[in-house]
């Protein structure tokens, strides 16, 4: 996985299975606001009439979340951590077609 390549382990459990947390380095977070271009918004609007999945927005949120997690991992790296535990995600819609994604967790050193 992407996070593993950068040398940071990301989990949403309070402990890391098979490892001991030796030091906590505070809360790290990453957030992003992204939008799709007008054409995709219009297409999603049309698709919304017939219902079902809006794959444009699924894709948008997937990309945004990757970016948010990437920023969180960068924050953790700058603090000298090697893992982020207890990661939580929050989403909020700002306007139609733009979503804010927020990822946060605790940076730790683990052995």
């Amino acid at each position: 996985m992407e996070q593993m390549v950068q040398g940071i382990l990301v989990v949403n459990t309070e402990t890391i299975p098979g490892m001991m947390i030796t030091e906590t380095l505070g809360v790290v977070s990453g957030s992003t606001v992204r939008a799709k271009h007008l054409g995709k918004d219009i297409f999603a609007g049309l698709k919304n009439i017939v219902g079902g999945e809006l794959s444009q927005y699924t894709e948008l949120l997937q990309e945004s979340r990757e970016e948010a997690v990437g920023r969180m991992v960068a924050d953790a790296m700058s603090r000298g951590a090697n893992a982020v535990v207890n990661v939580r995600f929050a989403t909020s819609a700002i306007t139609a077609g733009a979503a804010e994604l927020f990822a946060y967790g605790t940076a730790v050193k683990a052995e």
């Binding site: 996985m1 009439i49 999945e53 809006l54 794959s55 979340r65 995600f89």
Partner: protein
């Protein structure tokens, strides 16, 4: 000289007007497309939703059958101690009711009680998100997903009346590998 200047002025006017022309075109297209799409929704959206539910259920059943268990658990830390590697996995689905379903829901809302159509739409989305989480975790080489959390967030901003009506179902957890 006059000709070139005239053309330039015409060009500038066109460039300024272009966004408005484009908006008008989109508006016209919308007026034509909306009734057609609504007719399609009235006729087929219920069937489409049933198909979606059936396809998710069959994928889930075949995955469960091949593994012999459900890889998702909500237990924090899992129930086994022989975990060798872990990492976060997530999946999200943006899922919305059709405008026909919105109308049914609105009528249902007048009489009160449980609004079954919205329950059906949202749980179809949720089942799909969970199934994608299972598939994604297995594709990344994990055997189980522990500490699974499922969030539902509204894609429609507060106070916006003319926007898409959809919810995002987001499922995440920690993928684990055993020895």
């Amino acid at each position: 000289m006059v000709d070139v200047g005239g053309l330039l002025v015409l060009g500038i006017i066109l460039v300024i007007l272009l966004p408005f022309l484009l908006l008008a075109l989109i508006g016209m297209l919308w007026t034509v497309a909306y009734p057609l799409m609504l007719c399609w929704a009235v006729l087929f959206s219920g069937k489409k939703l049933d198909q979606q539910i059936a396809s998710t259920a069959s994928r889930e059943a075949s995955l469960r059958e091949s593994l012999g268990r459900d890889p998702l658990t909500t237990i924090d830390g899992g129930y086994r101690t022989d975990i060798t590697s872990c990492g976060v996995v997530w999946s999200g689905v943006v899922f919305g009711p059709s405008h026909w379903h919105l109308l049914i829901g609105w009528i249902n809302n007048l009489t009160g009680g449980s609004v079954d159509i919205f329950q059906k739409v949202v749980s179809a989305g949720r089942a799909e998100a969970m199934q994608r989480l299972r598939e994604k975790a297995l594709a990344e080489g994990y055997e189980d997903v522990i500490n699974v959390r499922i969030d539902t967030s509204d894609m429609t901003p507060q106070g916006a009346r003319k926007s898409i009506k959809a919810v995002e179902i987001f499922a995440y957890g920690t993928g684990v590998k055993y020895t």
